[in-house]
């Protein structure tokens, strides 16, 4: 038992506190730098260590110091307890998503191999709505309240399609366990095509990415924090409390990246390479990290390319396009699998 506890602590520290937090912290800088490059600006470049600027990469350290040394004041509210609870409610669920994500073959790169893997991800991500909702409700601010109602409606609208898009994956790989799904994706179709989720479920991948970006509340779905209209659900949060709400968003991006990599991009599988062990395992963990970063980059590029939706467009996209298309995808998958199993394809 003690061995299990120590091993779990080590894995949690390694995966969440080192890998995820490092990527999320880097993202705070990459986001600004990339947006600057896209918009033909210079971007952050002031912070320096011993005269070295390195494109302003030290801004992430400067930001952390700034967040920690600012005043954390409470607004006048009837619910100071809920206000203080909000950062926990926002960050803990997105961190917990990494509990079931296999970063490599075997049990050493996976915190917990619960049998219900993908359903665990859906369940935990459905809890992410409480942080922003409760926090904004407790801040006693009209703008925050508008943001809160928008956030809740948006997140629940897109959560449905997110769940339905995974059904096609479960049908093909016959499991909800993420490690099983990744192992199944190692096989080849017709001897040359990797059986990745994106190959077999291209429509589901697009729909899943759309729904996931809406779940992380980022542009083009950033209505809960449309800065030019309602400031955002976290308008009353200062210092590290604001920092944690922003961090939860960046961790959410990494979580979407890792989930999409596992379900659609073959997880730690390197195409056309079978087996594990030794240096190959190291390469496979590297492949998983690269795939995660690729999806993270994809989200960054989408973020700075598309303008914000209007609210009615957002709701229409969720309910009138994503939901019927997800159901259609399940139907098509069902019909195609029937032909496949009867040996006609």
């Amino acid at each position: 038992m003690l061995e299990l506890i120590l091993l779990s602590v080590a894995k949690v520290m390694g995966i969440v506190m080192v890998f995820v937090m490092a990527v999320a912290a880097l993202l705070t800088w990459i986001e600004r730098k990339q947006s600057a490059l896209i918009q033909n600006r210079v971007g952050p470049n002031r912070a320096s260590v011993a005269g070295l600027r390195l494109g302003g990469i030290f801004h992430l350290a400067a930001d952390a110091v700034k967040m920690l040394t600012k005043e954390d004041f409470d607004p006048e509210t009837d619910n100071p307890l809920m206000f203080r609870l909000a950062p926990f409610l926002a960050v803990v669920p997105v961190m917990l998503l990494f509990a079931v994500i296999p970063f490599g073959p075997g049990e050493h790169f996976l915190i917990s191999n619960v049998g219900v893997g993908a359903l665990f991800i859906l369940a935990v991500s459905s809890l992410g709505v409480y942080g922003s909702t409760i926090g904004a409700w407790a801040s006693n601010n009209n703008f925050a309240m508008l943001g809160s109602i928008r956030t809740t409606a948006q997140m629940i609208s897109y959560e449905v399609s997110m769940g339905l898009n995974l059904v096609g994956i479960f049908m093909i790989y016959e499991s909800v366990n993420l490690q099983d799904i990744v192992i199944e994706q190692g096989s080849l179709i017709w001897g040359w095509l990797p059986a990745w989720g994106i190959v077999l479920q291209p429509l589901a991948f697009i729909l899943f990415m759309t729904a996931s970006i809406a779940e992380t509340k980022r542009a083009p779905f950033d209505l809960p924090e449309g800065e030019s209209e309602i400031v955002g659900y976290f308008v009353e949060f200062s210092s590290m409390r604001f920092g944690l709400l922003a961090l939860s968003e960046f961790i959410g991006i990494v979580a979407v990246g890792a989930t999409a990599a596992v379900l659609f991009l073959g997880g730690w599988q390197i195409p056309w390479v079978q087996g594990t062990g030794g240096w190959l395992t190291v390469a496979q963990v590297g492949a998983m990290i690269l795939k995660t970063l690729f999806v993270v980059w994809l989200q960054m590029a989408i973020r700075w390319t598309l303008p914000r939706f209007r609210y009615d467009q957002l709701m229409r996209l969720g309910w009138q396009y994503l939901l019927p298309l997800s159901l259609l995808n399940i139907f098509i998958t069902g019909v195609v699998l029937m032909f496949v199993e009867q040996g006609r394809i």
Partner: protein, 171 residues
């Protein structure tokens, strides 16, 4: 070990369920809703102790993640303040509620003490390693219980239609 975990989860479930309606938490509907989420988590833990993995995760997905969100939504939309509720005062229905809860508790405690049910669990853990997994539940649900399963869709259809009729201003 299992006894200890069970008692932690059981006491947690009861305590957080009581907190939903009893002040100080229960006085504010939003606090009550959050206590309900906590209660569902403890319940999910109890399901894991029963090796019902699918039910445990659905408990979190549906109850904590969907139904309480709707509760919270409705609470925020209606925004009943504590002034609207008035001072808590004893009513007949509260008295009846207390008597009913007391009666049921006494009966339950009586049964437990009579059977000494706490000393030993009646059955051990299932030896079948697939028990409670997604596939096992599915195998039962879509073969033996196919009629209730199909009827569920009718129930959900009625729920959708009812919600639209109640909430839509013009039909």
């Amino acid at each position: 070990m299992e006894q200890v975990i069970f008692w932690i989860l059981a006491i947690g479930t009861v305590a957080s369920s009581v907190a939903v309606i009893v002040p100080p938490m229960g006085r504010n509907p939003v606090h009550g809703a959050l206590s309900l989420v906590v209660a569902f988590f403890f319940l999910a833990g109890l399901y894991v102790m029963l090796v019902a993995h699918l039910v445990a995760v659905l408990q979190v997905l549906i109850y904590a993640g969907a139904i309480v969100v709707l509760f919270l939504f409705v609470i925020m939309l209606l925004n009943i303040q504590s002034e609207d509720l008035g001072h808590p005062r004893p009513t007949i229905s509260k008295l009846i509620g207390v008597i009913a809860v007391g009666f049921v508790s006494i009966v339950l405690i009586g049964f437990i003490l009579k059977d000494k049910g706490m000393a030993e669990p009646p059955v051990g853990l299932p030896s079948d390693s697939t028990f409670g997994t997604v596939k096992t539940v599915g195998n039962l649900l879509y073969t033996s219980y196919i009629v209730p399963f199909e009827l569920t869709s009718i129930l959900l259809l009625v729920a959708v239609i009812g919600a639209v009729i109640m909430a839509k201003r013009r039909l």
